[in-house]
Symmetry: C2
Subunit: 587 residues, 2 copies
């Protein structure tokens, strides 16, 4: 029986007894760049050539691989959508025997326009084979919560259960969110007779999501009763880090292969197809080739899941590194205070970019402890980075002198404290302007939440890598990083946190102890709990009310803060959109 005759039989709605052994699915878990159509196309066609070499039946590439994810308002530009489609056709022209599934932005029917007058487009997956686009799937479920705004950009796909015939196998293709709902398009595709489910993703990291995703996907495969291949993007894009961790599941929900987290990997798996003869199903022919013969190769050993702290650390390294690299900076400049936030920030920067790309600056003032310079110097030595000392006394004195006529200096209050922080911010920015490195801000989520930071001072910078890490997590990360030997000086970890902007200052003068503060913030910020609910959980009413007021009153600072890596379920950025002008007082 020839292959084509067999296919015709399979496709004629008749039961068939063909027993296919396995589908070789190649996966390109790669790091793309939003907007870089030419660069992304080059990465995609490299992957296609590799998949052809390994004789893959199918190659999966990430959601919106051609544009990068998320392209945000770039998709409102008609010219951008047009170029992305032209890029797709250039890529398709290079498709060979392997069927490539690749994400792109597709135009909708043509006449649909949203209220703002833009052409409505789809978040789509194209199936490419032998030089042509053979089929297109439109994402059905569009996330519009948290960091996602897909209703802003995309029209809903209308065809949930389409199947695609690849070398005699009926494949269901879906995109990201489609698989998060238990009765989503993949369930419909399985019901329609899919032999395998292929799901491409741009799924960003937050703590615990890897485990959550793996459990969900195992359930989906088990419920569908067919194998499931999940391919995720990897890399940093502004506030988001995509963690990869692509996975392949057998029909019983057992995991066949787990790709590494936070790094690129090209891999293929011989996915065993269900033993029983499949019914002939209605499917669009994509490729009429033959499956490989012989026994499937066993999958490589799975990469282990990282521990919670290790995965946060890896996310921070990748998020900062990609922000710096993709925005074309040669390196970074970091103000080192001797405290734990700046020490951890510099360590992450070295792990992301190498010691030659990191420049540490200590900027002492009359209020600095001797330790602030010494501990910073020790850190810089451990990290092997360039280190310089620049006093802020001359500009700070200059400010006090020129402002002398405007007020009588009595005791140092927040105005003078902020002038010190702003002198430091201006020095770092001057070094950035003169030599080109990007300033990395060092603030953590505890400070950013309650506004214990100076706008244009210690908040100055292009990126704030610890912005979504509470202070207690900062300590955990520092200890974890020191697990094989001291990098961050123990003195830095042991000292009481202080901004050192007036004599004998300590964070605890202004804030509750960090373990208490962070426990309240986690409930208030991530949990959206009310003051009353937090009090009910066992916290002091006055403290909770004070923290909530500080969080609400400092929205204006956060709105002018640099972006940082999202690592929680609700980061202080696009994820959390509160009004600045806000009269709500709980009570």
């Amino acid at each position: 029986m020839t292959r084509s005759l067999w296919l015709a039989t399979c496709l004629s709605w008749l039961p068939n007894l063909c027993n296919m052994d396995f589908l070789r699915v190649a996966c390109a878990q790669i790091n793309l760049t939003v907007g870089d159509l030419a660069g992304n196309a080059a990465r995609i066609t490299d992957a296609m050539a590799w998949a052809e070499d390994v004789q893959a039946d199918v190659l999966l590439l990430p959601e919106l691989a051609i544009t990068g994810y998320p392209p945000e308002d770039l998709v409102l530009r008609d010219g951008f959508v047009t170029e992305n489609i032209a890029t797709l056709h250039r890529i398709a022209a290079q498709a060979g025997e392997t069927t490539t599934v690749v994400g792109f932005v597709d135009r909708s029917g043509g006449t649909v326009r949203d209220d703002a007058g833009h052409s409505r487009v789809h978040n789509a997956a194209a199936l490419l084979q032998r030089g042509r686009v053979r089929g297109v799937y439109h994402k059905v479920l569009l996330p519009n919560y948290g960091v996602f705004d897909e209703d802003r950009y995309f029209a809903l796909g209308q065809v949930r259960s389409a199947l695609w015939e690849v070398n005699g196998v009926a494949a269901g293709v879906s995109v990201c969110e489609d698989i998060w709902v238990d009765d989503g398009p993949p369930a419909d595709q399985a019901a329609a007779g899919a032999d395998v489910l292929l799901n491409i993703n741009g799924s960003p990291y937050h703590r615990g999501k890897g485990e959550q995703r793996e459990a969900m996907l195992a359930d989906r495969a088990r419920a569908a009763g067919v194998p499931l291949v999940y391919l995720n993007l990897v890399g940093g894009q502004d506030e988001l880090v995509f963690d990869g961790q692509s996975m392949v599941f057998a029909a019983d929900g057992s995991i066949l292969y787990r790709a590494p987290a936070f790094v690129e990997e090209m891999f293929w798996v011989d996915v065993p197809l269900p033993e029983e003869g499949r019914s002939g199903v209605e499917a669009t022919l994509v490729s009429g080739g033959d499956l490989l013969e012989g026994d499937p190769e066993p999958p490589a050993p799975s990469h282990p899941q990282l521990s919670d702290v290790a995965s946060v650390y890896a996310a921070l390294v990748l998020g900062l590194g990609d922000y710096v690299r993709k925005n074309g900076f040669a390196g970074v400049v970091i103000g080192l205070s001797g405290g734990i936030d700046s020490a951890l920030t510099a360590t992450i920067a070295v792990d992301a970019l190498g010691p030659d790309a990191v420049w540490g600056i200590t900027m002492p003032s009359r209020y600095s402890s001797p330790g602030s310079v010494e501990d910073s110097r020790a850190l810089a030595k451990n990290l092997g980075i360039r280190f310089d000392e620049i006093s802020i006394e001359p500009p700070f004195t200059g400010f006090i002198e020129t402002l002398g006529t405007e007020w009588d200096l009595t005791e140092v209050d927040v105005a003078e404290q902020n002038l010190q922080a702003r002198s430091r911010g201006a020095i770092l920015m001057a070094l950035s302007n003169k030599f080109g490195g990007m300033v990395v801000a060092t603030g953590n989520k505890s400070e950013m939440s309650v506004g214990y930071a100076t706008l244009y001072g210690d908040m100055a910078g292009g990126y704030a890598v610890l912005k979504d890490c509470y202070k207690t997590l900062v300590y955990d990360l520092a200890r974890w990083r020191n697990r094989d030997g001291e990098v961050i000086p123990q003195a830095t970890i042991d000292k009481a946190p202080s901004a050192e902007l007036r004599p004998d200052q300590a964070d605890s003068d202004s804030l509750p102890a960090y373990d208490l503060l962070d426990a309240i913030l986690e409930r208030y910020v991530e949990g959206d709990a009310s003051v009353a609910e937090i009090v009910k959980a066992g916290f002091d009413r006055e403290t909770v009310a004070r923290v909530a007021r500080m969080v609400d009153a400092n929205e204006y600072k956060r709105r002018q803060a640099p972006p940082g890596v999202k690592i929680t379920t609700k980061a202080l950025g696009r994820d959390r959109r509160l009004p600045i002008t806000n009269g709500y007082r709980e009570g």
Copy 2:
């Protein structure tokens, strides 16, 4: 025939011959505050008492009047939604004979939760009468484009054609976006037999929207063949200004009354009801009272529509004023450079807050022209504001001194220029920290688009009132403000724009002429046109490509900019969400 017997007849699906003359509709075009549930409730119950006094059949209050609009992520807080509903019931308890239509956040069926686990709620209008909530309408069409994110928060209303029986009149109630689509819920309500359409709004201003809205509403009334009352919110909320301009239309689409723009007004109109006997229709009984007898009072004369420039100016005054007032600042601090941006900013601030609340600071350096101080002094005198001179030389010299070991000062480049701007920013912030006024940033949209501004320098401040005004419009606004006599010194209007950060600097050294720049920007930013399309419209390719590159490369600055008043169809804020990391290069 008693009123109740008559009503029973009207509601029994039988034709009726009752000839009602007019419905007295009261409208509270008021200025509310997001989150201030108690304050908003007080404003609402005041309006209810007034409507009762004037014997109104119906009182309209704005969309989401109880929470203020837009409440953004406050609606993701269960506690906030609960308090808003409790507030509604407290308000309802005070309802008398007048039927009050008021916006609030309603819980959906109870079990619907979105993917992020939040209870889904509705953007709703409640009908209150005699101490009770008599009915609730759920907004059907949810805007999710431009500045709007309503799909993030609200579930879609399912009942489009509900009618409400008020004193024998069948009223259709809808919310904002519902009326912008020509076959939206109001059309269905008219088809179902509505005698009048009532539409409550939180519709923000942009240039030309008043005229667009009025033409659209006239069409809707004409198409429906029944009168239409449109009530809009007024006031500033972060980036948005709601312009009021509530309107009442007769059944033939002619305008009966137009309320003023940008100010509060409580008004009522006796809306003539269609002459022909209305058919009995299915409606939910809200109020079984009687309409007023006698002849309707003729409406007051309509307020004129403002000219384009006058309306922009009014929007800026209201936007800045409300931001300052609602965030609790007693006044503002503004750096006066002698240039037109800061002069116009200070003038707007005085018109918004009064001269006693505005403090002008001139901060000369070695590069300042004599005019920068003199022209600023003349402006301050014209405005009657406090004016002080604070030299930036001491801190600037201090920066150069302390940075001396890091580089050889040769000629002043962008690093030294930015240090001057940042010295000024730090001085203004110090005055703000010491004395409590908010710093107003003075940058315009042309500068903000191409990044011709210093982050943490002239971009420092709580609010940037001209952020959405191109430089050419800034000139138009200044000339318009001077129409009755010189406020902004003519020398300030006449001089060539310069940042004065190095000898003989002019904006034209770095940028195309502003009329050319603004024409390109309008196409690129508001129009989302491609470089090729703009070139086709008659512009020089190299200039267009250079401008587009500058816009794209400076997204990181805009992301850390203060908010400002939206006056165009696409402001540089929530309205325009481009990635910072963006490899897209046209061409």
